[in-house]
Amino acid sequence: METPYQPIAGTVERSIRVSEKERLFSVIPSDPTLLKYRPGQFYMVGLPGYGEAPISITSGPGEALIELCVRAVGNLTNALHSLRKGDKIWLRGPFGRGFDLEELEGKDLVFVAGGIGIVPMRSLLKAVLGRREKFGRLTLIYGSRSPDELLFSEEMDGWRAAGMDVKLTVDRAEPLWKGNVGVVTTLIPKVEVAQKNTVGVIIGPPVMYRFVILSLNAKGLGPEDIFVSLERRMKCGLGKCGHCQINSLYICQCGPVFRMSELKGMVEAI
């Protein structure tokens, strides 16, 4: 009998250290149907003996490999960091509903990423930049604790060249840092926003959401104009184990991407 807990093998094609704590993996899944995903979706990624954890997809839809960027914080993620080219990795998914690009077409988009929130955001950025002409003005505001922790910085010139304004900020500057210092919300007032035609997308650590939403509200964006992707603990990905639940929503199935208006009245959402 089949079980939804059966993981699918993937082979690591590339394993690159991208910062002190993060490693970027390119994975070839043994079942190509796993390559059909939307930005914002995730896999339950595991290793025998270490269990599974939800890991965001960072590659763009339609790419030949699945890219996963993993921060080493626990037993499983530390074990994942030991994987090299040719090693096996186990996946279930993709889970969740991700971003619907058609909903964003024709809009000016302000992407606000904090820390490893850039990992799932990158999948969306790649999808949007791949169809650049369908969207209005694009702005990415990305903040990390220090310049060392900024991920994908080597890709940012390409993103700028493709027609996106990229604004970076760090909490703690280092001598060589010439950019902005401060939390992401310090950059939001500087963004020009065409009211009624701008959508904000927020992905970051839990502490960030309320402040960024308030800053976007001040720019005239309402609950219909703001999308968030929410992190939660997950053990099954099937809407059953209960860990990711917010009110009646199971984040693994109904999310992790939500329009803020869908979370109205849910005291634990952000």
Binding site: Q6, P48, G49, G51, C236, K240, G242, Q245, E268
Partner: protein
């Protein structure tokens, strides 16, 4: 209470014959007395059963959703996972109306979306024999409309002074009775005795929720900021007993256990509890429900509000197990009635 034509009479001896017959074919579990308390346990003879008891300490969910179960076996060297779906033919004797209601909710949960083959396989191999009960101080199923089981069982037994009135709820139940029991139509006297027992049971409930069940989701929806959560959060020990004893708590953890050989292991599902501190904590340490007050609010809302929009039913069945098991006497009826009265006074 039903119509006399819905019932058959089964004698004591007939009941023993039924249980003995089932014991030849299946694993049989039922309500017994364990360490002085009513509990579900495996039986090997009909005399071990104690029917019509007050509620068991643990519910019957463990027979469908065990406290620990293997989902996959894996070999680390060959890097292979293989599914484990274990189930045996079994009968559960003595499930009360609240337990049967809870089981029907669990059936819907595990069949919804991506069906859970482990649960569904066990469920399909189970014969449910319900039985009447006697409420204790904590039982409040009547005020939630669950004091009588209309469906969800294969056979239901109403114990009389001598013998039983029997209802059948499925073809499976009908076949078992046909095979192992001799039934006859009940006499008027037997039916009157049954009616008398029903009235006695109905009038024995002490605990009740002070609002119609249909109003409870909206009462809870208005109570996110109630002081009740801080009050019970301050005394809750976070032990998770309420989750463990609840017949509709189905949250679980999944983790890997590696054998001493370090070559093989199992991916295992264990009961988890939303009142435990780590339940909503993510890697990196952020806890989405930091306080006991928040965790209790979540649990109570799951029973009366959150799942009602998905499954169109309350998930509290009124068994009172959480209140009975609570180390600090947090009582689900008292908490709910405080919210009811706060809402009515707003």
């Amino acid at each position: 209470m039903g119509n006399v034509n819905d019932f058959k009479f089964l004698s004591e001896r007939g009941f023993q014959g039924l249980v003995k017959g089932l014991l030849k074919e299946l694993k049989v579990y039922g309500t017994i007395v364990k360490d002085g308390f009513p509990a579900f346990g495996e039986i090997s003879a009909p005399e071990e059963l104690v029917l019509s008891s007050t509620p068991t300490h643990l519910s019957a969910k463990e027979f469908f959703f065990p406290q620990r179960e293997v989902l996959l076996k894996f070999n680390i060297k060959t890097a292979a996972f293989s599914p484990v779906i274990e189930s045996v033919d079994q009968a559960i004797i003595g499930m009360h109306p609240c337990d049967i209601r809870a089981l029907s909710l669990m059936d819907r949960v595990f069949a919804a979306g991506t069906p859970d083959p482990n649960y569904l396989s066990r469920r399909s191999k189970t014969l449910i024999i319900g039985s009447d009960c006697m409420p204790d101080d904590y039982c409040f199923c009547k005020s939630l409309g669950n004091s009588e089981a209309e469906s969800g069982f294969d056979i239901f037994l109403h114990a009389l002074g001598k013998g039983f009135l029997v209802r059948t709820g499925s073809d499976k139940g009908r076949a078992a009775l046909l095979k192992y029991a001799k039934l006859r139509a009940p006499s008027t006297k037997e039916f009157r005795e049954f009616q008398g027992l029903c009235l006695k049971r109905d009038s024995s409930f002490k605990a009740k929720v002070d609002a119609p069940p249909a109003e409870l989701p909206s009462i809870y929806a208005k109570s996110d900021e109630s002081k009740v959560w801080q009050k019970i959060g301050a005394i809750c020990t976070g032990c998770g007993s309420c989750n463990n004893v609840c017949p509709t708590c189905y949250c679980f953890d999944v983790k890997d256990e590696v054998k001493a050989s370090l070559a093989e292991g199992e991916r295992v599902r264990n009961w988890d509890g939303c009142t435990l501190e780590d339940f909503a904590k993510v890697a990196g340490g952020h806890n989405f429900r930091k306080t006991r007050a928040e965790r209790l609010r979540h649990r109570f809302n799951r029973k009366f509000r959150y799942l009602s929009s998905t499954f169109d039913s309350l998930f509290c069945v009124g068994c009172g197990r959480c209140s009975r098991a609570c180390l600090v006497k947090i009582n689900i009826v008292e908490v709910t009635n405080e919210l009811v009265s706060e809402c009515h006074n707003k």
